[in-house]
């Protein structure tokens, strides 16, 4: 027979278990919160990068906005079309065709092509250099100190020869670089094809004022706008209308041949021809700093 002490111990545990179960059961019913199960499913469908590209603080916030407030399902730039489709299926809405947004740097001048550059020994950041005058001739274009590189979490932008260049195989369209650029020359462009035509200049001056500071910037001559109705001249600078841009019907051969400067450029992922051209070469490994330090940016050289 079980001894009485064991019975008492077991009984005490049983009573405790029953009491706590009652309390928790009551709490479960009383403190019940109505949560739409779709919020959980929406959070699962999102990539979970919490990058803020959609405009919300995290993926969970955006999921809640989509389910509860009926936010657009196409805002996730990192997830792209597949995530938009998944969210649309979840909400039972139809998704209009959406394209991935990618960062485009509207400047095409490397250090060699920029004129009137002066020796700069201040803080090596674009934000600091932007605040003083005379670092380089063009007051609109890329400074090349790499604030965008610091902002990018995906390693998709780098400064080469003093110009910021986007790696479209890594760019997720989160927009961090666009927000970091103090001169606002990085914009998010919808990539309706793997390669799109962009205007790689932000200089709003015309004619001689541009040629005095840069060998490749847009002078606002208007030849492209006359030849193709997707292009307009807007305060001395060519602009492409991406809403009406249709890669299937757009024909830019004429404008590309007539542009006197090198301001109209195809950007995007490398074409098979580009890849074949370097197929036999050994690509150097990316040299990346393996530490972050605040000292470098304030180092006084000289």
């Amino acid at each position: 027979m079980i001894s009485a002490e064991v019975l008492l111990a077991g009984g005490a545990m049983a009573v405790l278990a029953v009491a706590l179960s009652y309390v928790l059961g009551w709490a479960n019913r009383t403190f019940h919160v109505e949560v739409d199960p779709r919020v959980e499913a929406a959070t699962q469908a999102l990539p979970g990068a919490n990058c803020g590209g959609c405009g919300y603080v995290g993926c969970a916030e955006y999921a809640e906005a989509v389910v509860v407030k009926g936010e657009q399902v196409t805002k996730c730039t990192v997830g792209g079309a597949s995530v938009a489709a998944a969210l649309a299926r979840l909400m039972g809405v139809e998704v209009k065709e959406s394209w991935p947004y990618r960062a485009v740097v509207h400047c095409g001048a490397t250090s060699a092509q920029r004129l009137k550059q002066r020796e700069y020994r201040g803080e090596q950041s674009c934000a600091a250099a932007n605040m003083i005058s005379g670092v380089q001739g063009c007051t609109y274009g890329c400074l090349g100190f790499g604030d965008c590189v610091t902002a990018c979490r995906y390693g998709a932008i780098a400064v080469r020869d003093g110009l910021a260049v986007v790696d479209y195989e890594r760019c997720t369209g989160c927009g961090a670089c666009a927000r970091a650029c103090p001169r606002n020359i990085i914009t998010m462009v919808p990539f309706k094809a793997e390669r799109v035509l962009v205007v790689t200049c932000s200089n709003k001056d015309t004619g001689k004022d541009v040629t005095a500071v840069c060998t490749v910037g847009c002078i606002g001559c208007g030849v492209c706008a006359r030849l193709n109705d997707l292009l307009q001249i807007d305060s001395g600078l060519a602009r492409i209308d991406y809403d009406r841009y249709d890669p299937a019907t757009a024909d830019f051969a004429a404008v590309l041949s007539k542009c006197p400067r090198e301001s109209l450029v195809w950007v995007g992922k490398p074409t098979p021809k580009d890849l074949a051209a370097v197929a036999d070469k050994e690509l150097p490994s990316r040299v990346e700093a393996d530490f972050k330090t605040t000292v470098d940016q304030t180092e006084w050289r000289g």
Partner: protein, 229 residues
């Protein structure tokens, strides 16, 4: 007055001199895991303090009235079942089971309560609550209280006030340690740490130095006791 001074001594001892994390080395897993940012660390600390207080109250009550040798409720039930038996009723073998049960249930209860009545608070530190169930610090507080409640003569039995002071200020000490650690780790992110030591390695070394700093509090309780007398 003597009661209040004993409470003050217990509180100071639990928060600074015998800090749960830096002296007793309990609660290390969340300490290393959550201490990367100051706001997250503070949220975790608040959640731990809250749950520790509730769990300590419940476990004190259960230990004093049911589990300790000669506990009133257990003795009453026993004499009702077996009126002619002698000896002391001792259910303290069930201590650990009961404590862990109480902790798990109170965490569950707090989570449900927060979710219903304080949604913004739930959003900010609700995710830490399931982590707290297996947090050594809570069980450790219950065990420390047990030391002063189970198997001690009736004159030295700790009352609820002392138990709560130990638990709550133990939680406060945990919060202080974790927030200090988070502040230091935020700065460490900008430093040139050798590759091998990055992450838990350097965090532990910095925690060790912080523990050394907290060793400076030794003897404060003796002088405080003299002051309060």
């Amino acid at each position: 007055m003597e009661y209040v001074s004993s409470l003050v001594l217990i509180a100071v001892s639990a928060a600074f001199i015998n800090n749960f994390v830096l002296y007793y080395s309990v609660g290390i897993c969340p300490y290393l895991g959550v201490s990367r940012r100051v706001d997250m660390a503070f949220g975790m600390g608040c959640a731990v303090t809250f749950v520790i207080s509730i769990a300590a109250c419940l476990s004190w009550a259960l230990t004093v009235f049911v589990l300790r040798p000669g506990a009133p409720l257990a003795t009453w039930v026993w004499h009702w079942l077996r009126p002619d038996s002698a000896g002391v009723v001792d259910l303290s073998i069930l201590n650990y089971l009961v404590y862990i049960f109480v902790i798990a249930s109170s965490v569950q209860f707090v989570e449900m309560y927060l979710r219903k009545f304080f949604p913004p608070l739930y959003k900010s530190f609700g995710i830490y609550l399931p982590l707290i169930t297996t947090n050594c610090a809570i069980l450790f507080a219950c065990l420390e209280i047990m030391k002063h409640v189970s198997g001690v003569p009736a004159a030295q039995l700790w009352d609820l006030g002392r138990a709560l002071a130990l638990a709550a200020f133990g939680g406060v000490g945990f919060t202080i340690a974790i927030v200090l650690m988070a502040g230091m780790r935020e700065d460490l992110d900008l430093c040139d740490v050798p590759q091998a030591l990055r992450g838990p390695g350097i965090a532990l070394i910095v925690a060790g130095i912080l523990a050394m700093a907290f060793m400076g509090f030794t003897g404060v309780d003796r002088n405080l006791a003299a002051l309060l007398r």
